[in-house]
């Protein structure tokens, strides 16, 4: 295809100016001289690799999900093994599905479509391979370290620091360079909307990952977040929420914008809508993070921003849905017969439903009911299974015949996959909404006398167990569909030709000195110049220019994303009134630090919150609501997001040591009907006393006021406290010989939780100098 041909087609349409004014117009282009025509091929081998990884990790991640879902009804399924407890496997499931399954799907989409949209081979085959193998190694590292209890305990950012560094290198150094290199070498002047979404994905994920993961290293696989308490919560949910935005939304919108019109063979509904919803989405999404923290110790203004920006996000999200669904106008008859389009239609519809439910759940009063319940779990699975899963399946069903260069093995099986998957999602989503609303209502129910109707927490767990079974059935159906998909994939691959055909493409290189077509005059006549300028701005011609300037485009994406950080994160860090100091809140003792490390390692935050909201039913059940100043030494914060078990913020002093040890050894021995896994290994394993000092020192580096003596004496202090607790334990119930066991450290931590609020004030400093220092510090 010669360049003159391209130009001839491009300017073939009628010339008069109508509609929004994006029509082709006669104009002179200084690059009328076409560049030299170049021959090249697309690198599809790398796309096939990512595609295979998507299928494999999808199976692994969702099997892990099904396993932990069943564990919640049959807790014995951890078999008493520390590596198989819910707290350690749930991060494995979420990381596998998000970063391994969806991640590889994103790379499949980007590596396939970017080459075609740029009419250029990927910048570097080597970087592509490094990206592929690097990412798979990261996944394997995650699959090994998470069950072993190496975690930073921040949701969807659990991986420890060496893996975090690897992620940054692979994402920015291999993937980012490869992608932007391809953009730089493109032979298509303007960037299509799919590429805008890819740009937003790459830069924003890089920023979020780096800033959320900042930590001080305390050991080969141990680190402490540099942020504490409220600040850590804001950073984490700025990240957590925007992992949803920029890992599970923007790249999939890019995927949709390429593969859906390709499969439907229809033009995209509205270019103008693409522009408006792209920029509004990118700008608004970042702000919405605090909606994960309503009614917590977060300042009220941040909570309000989180809610309002979530509501404002409703339409920008639906802009994507509209552009997807309306692109199918004229192709609906094919939706009936084509499994690819079926998956896309349902995927986009689930996107629409999730992005309606999301803003709704972000409304504070609704969130008061839904937060900490399974409603949230249902919500994310509607998005993950429906939107991410189905868009991925649609894409791969479309890619298979093209990349394996042979017809799909079984269309019938694909149909079965579609229907099983769809029913599975509904079973999952509805059962979790049901469970969430049921449990939320039970938590807040008072009887006529004013007492809690369900004072015993485990009652509210027993009530939703039937829904857990429905969820497991729904998940099994979805997984069965996935297995059919994998079979179809394998059989289609098997029928591939001995040698793939690699057609040679040709396109003219881009030339420098391109001049944009002149912006048409504003049709407004009887208004001031400013009015005309405003009219021209909304006509969006300027955007056409941006689309050929990737650097400028990327800079503006970064600006759009960073603005929110300036308004939300910076004030949370700098304004003191956001986190009023509480004089009686003291740093953890060295043994409590060990206990907290264990709490983190076991992933207790996956089931227990440490955040009592100022809601009466909650303060009756758990005690005084949480204050921001109580968390200033919490690196990382452990507020949690789901109460599968009760809140633990004020569990300190509520039970005896003896009760805790018995309960950890076998929860059902103390609480009939409990679904908590047994932690008997904590009674066997030794405390790693030699790590106490480096850990305390690292905590001092992130700002905990430990003195030099505190650090030097940390190990001895830990031993002394452990002996004291072991003696108390023996005195209480007969457990003996636990003074070096991990359980003692965990008990020390649990007994400290929430106690400082009512602690006696510290004694007055003895010397005037110390008093003066204290005064200064204030």
């Amino acid at each position: 295809m010669s360049d003159s041909n391209v130009r001839a087609t491009a300017s073939a349409g009628p010339i008069e100016q109508r509609g929004m004014g994006f029509r082709s117009r006669p104009h002179r282009r200084s690059d009328a001289e076409p560049g030299a025509v170049e021959a090249f091929t697309y690198n599809d081998a790398i796309v096939r690799k990512f595609m295979l990884a998507t299928v494999v990790w999808g199976l692994v991640g969702m099997l892990a999900g099904l396993f932990i879902a069943v564990q919640l009804t049959v807790p014995q399924l951890s078999f008493g093994l520390e590596w198989l407890t819910f707290g350690r496997l749930r991060p494995l499931h979420t990381n596998a599905v998000i970063f391994a399954f969806a991640g590889n799907a994103i790379f499949t989409a980007i590596y396939y479509s970017t080459q075609r949209l740029c009419r250029a081979r990927m910048f570097s085959d080597l970087l592509g391979n490094l990206h592929f193998w690097g990412w798979q190694l990261i996944i394997v590292a995650a699959a090994v370290t998470l069950p072993l209890g190496f975690t930073q305990a921040k949701e969807y950012a659990e991986l420890e620091w060496p893996i975090d560094i690897a992620i940054a290198v692979v994402w920015v150094g291999f993937f980012g360079v490869n992608f932007f290199g391809t953009l730089a070498r493109r032979r298509e002047r303007h960037m299509y909307v799919a590429l805008w979404f890819y740009i937003a994905t790459i830069v924003t994920v890089a920023v979020l990952h780096v800033f959320n993961s900042l930590a001080v290293v305390a050991g080969p696989l141990k680190s402490y977040s540099v942020y504490a308490g409220v600040q850590d919560a804001v950073m984490q949910w700025g990240y957590g929420h925007n992992a949803v935005a920029f890992f599970l939304t923007t790249p999939f919108l890019g995927l949709m914008y390429y593969f859906l019109p390709k499969a439907a063979e229809r033009p995209v509904f509205s270019y103008r809508l693409s522009i408006v919803h792209f920029w509004s989405l990118v700008f608004l999404y970042i702000w919405a993070g605090p909606h994960h923290l309503h009614y917590t110790a977060l300042p009220a203004w941040a909570s309000t921003l989180g809610m309002l920006f979530s509501l404002m996000l409703w339409m920008p999200s639906w802009g994507g849905m509209i552009n997807g669904l309306l692109t199918l106008r004229g192709a609906w008859s094919r939706v009936v017969t084509d499994p690819v389009l079926k998956f896309f239609v349902l995927g986009v519809t689930f996107y629409g439903m999730s992005t309606f439910e999301g803003p709704m759940l972000s409304i504070k009063s609704i969130n008061a009911l839904s937060h900490y319940t399974d409603w949230t779990i249902g919500h994310v699975h509607g998005g993950a299974l429906g939107w991410n899963g189905f868009m991925t399946f649609g894409m791969i069903y479309w890619l298979m015949p093209r990349l394996f260069q042979t017809p799909l093995w079984s269309r019938r099986l694909a149909e079965w996959h579609f229907w099983l998957g769809t029913l599975g999602i509904f079973a999952y989503w509805i059962s979790m909404q049901w469970a969430g609303i049921t449990q939320g209502l039970m938590w807040r129910a008072f009887d006529d006398s004013g007492a809690l109707r369900h004072p015993d927490f485990v009652e509210t767990v027993r009530a939703i167990l039937p829904m857990y079974w429905v969820r497991a059935v729904g998940g099994s159906m979805y997984l069965a569909g996935l297995a059919m998909f994998a079979l179809n994939f394998a059989m289609t691959w098997k029928a591939r030709p001995a040698q793939y055909d690699t057609p040679v493409q040709s396109a003219p290189a881009l030339r420098r000195g391109y001049v944009d077509p002149p912006t048409p005059e504003s049709p407004l006549t009887s208004v001031m110049e400013t009015g005309k300028k405003v009219e021209r701005f909304f006509a969006l011609h300027w955007h056409r220019r941006w689309e050929r300037l990737p650097f400028r485009f990327t800079v503006w994406v970064v600006v759009a994303v960073v603005v929110a950080s300036l308004f939300e994160i910076v004030p949370t860090f700098l304004i003191r009134s956001n986190v009023p100091t509480i004089a009686t809140v003291r740093p953890y003792t060295p043994l409590e630090v060990v206990g907290r490390d264990l709490y983190v390692a076991e992933g207790c935050y996956n089931c227990h919150s440490q955040m009592i909201r100022p809601i009466r039913a909650e303060t009756v059940r758990y005690g005084e609501y949480s204050k921001p100043g109580e968390f200033v030494y919490d690196h990382p914060f452990q507020w949690g997001s789901r109460r599968i078990g009760p809140d633990l913020q004020r569990v300190g002093g509520k039970y005896s040591h003896d009760w805790h040890v018995r309960h950890l050894e076998d929860p059902r021995q103390m609480v009939a009907g409990s679904i908590m896994p047994a932690y008997a290994h904590l009674l066997e394993k030794e405390i790693a006393f030699r790590t106490v000092q480096p850990h305390v020192r690292a905590l001092a580096m992130v700002g905990t006021p430990y003195s030099r003596e505190d650090i030097d004496g940390a190990e001895e202090a830990a031993r002394v406290q452990a002996r004291a607790i072991a003696a108390e334990l023996e005195n209480q119930g007969g457990y003996a010989g636990l003074e070096t066991k991990q359980v003692v450290a965990l008990v020390a931590y649990l007994q400290r939780l929430g106690m400082d609020l009512h602690a006696a004030p510290e004694e007055e400093p003895e010397t005037p100098a110390a008093a003066a220092m204290k005064e200064d510090g204030r």
Binding site: L311, W314, M315, G319, A451
Partner: protein, 202 residues
Amino acid sequence: MAYRAPDDAGENLMDHSYDGIQEYDNPTPSWWHGLFWASIVFAAVYTAFWHFSEFSWSVHDMHRHQEAMHYKKLFGALGDLKPDEATMLKMMSDEKWRMVGSTIFAANCTQCHAGDGGGINGPNLTDDAYLNVRTLEDMYAIVTKGNVPKGMPAWENRLQANERILVAAYAASLRGARAASPRPPEGEVIAPWPAASPIPGG
């Protein structure tokens, strides 16, 4: 039959094509614009009311109000109780207040003392042997201050005085009840409570 869009003739199809993908120059739907602007206006009004007007209240104000109403509902009829023997006896025999005590017990005590008071790793409350308790006032004292070294938590920062009196009265009223799997007696056998307390199901 394929749905034929009004613009299907291609007249507002734009001139560019990316790998064969073309785009229409359709305007954004008006209801879309409408809702988007409505959400922005709502955000402004909401912020103005909740953060810049004197009519608003905070979640903490709301909680204070709820807490006051709750205590009024719970104990409005009682006033501030005194932890003396007479009050305890009254609360042990009054079925309504005994029920309130039982819900406090269910929320806080059953995990060590069992739902029926028979004891799990906490002492049996149904027998006549007691540790640290000789009188009904002691019952209140042990709930309030606990016996932390031996494992009984102190409840003074967790429960209101009235709640502690009611739960202590309820716990005392369990004496003599039948437990499913009682722990063996611990401590010393003490004299019966001053007046016979009714023991439902005992």
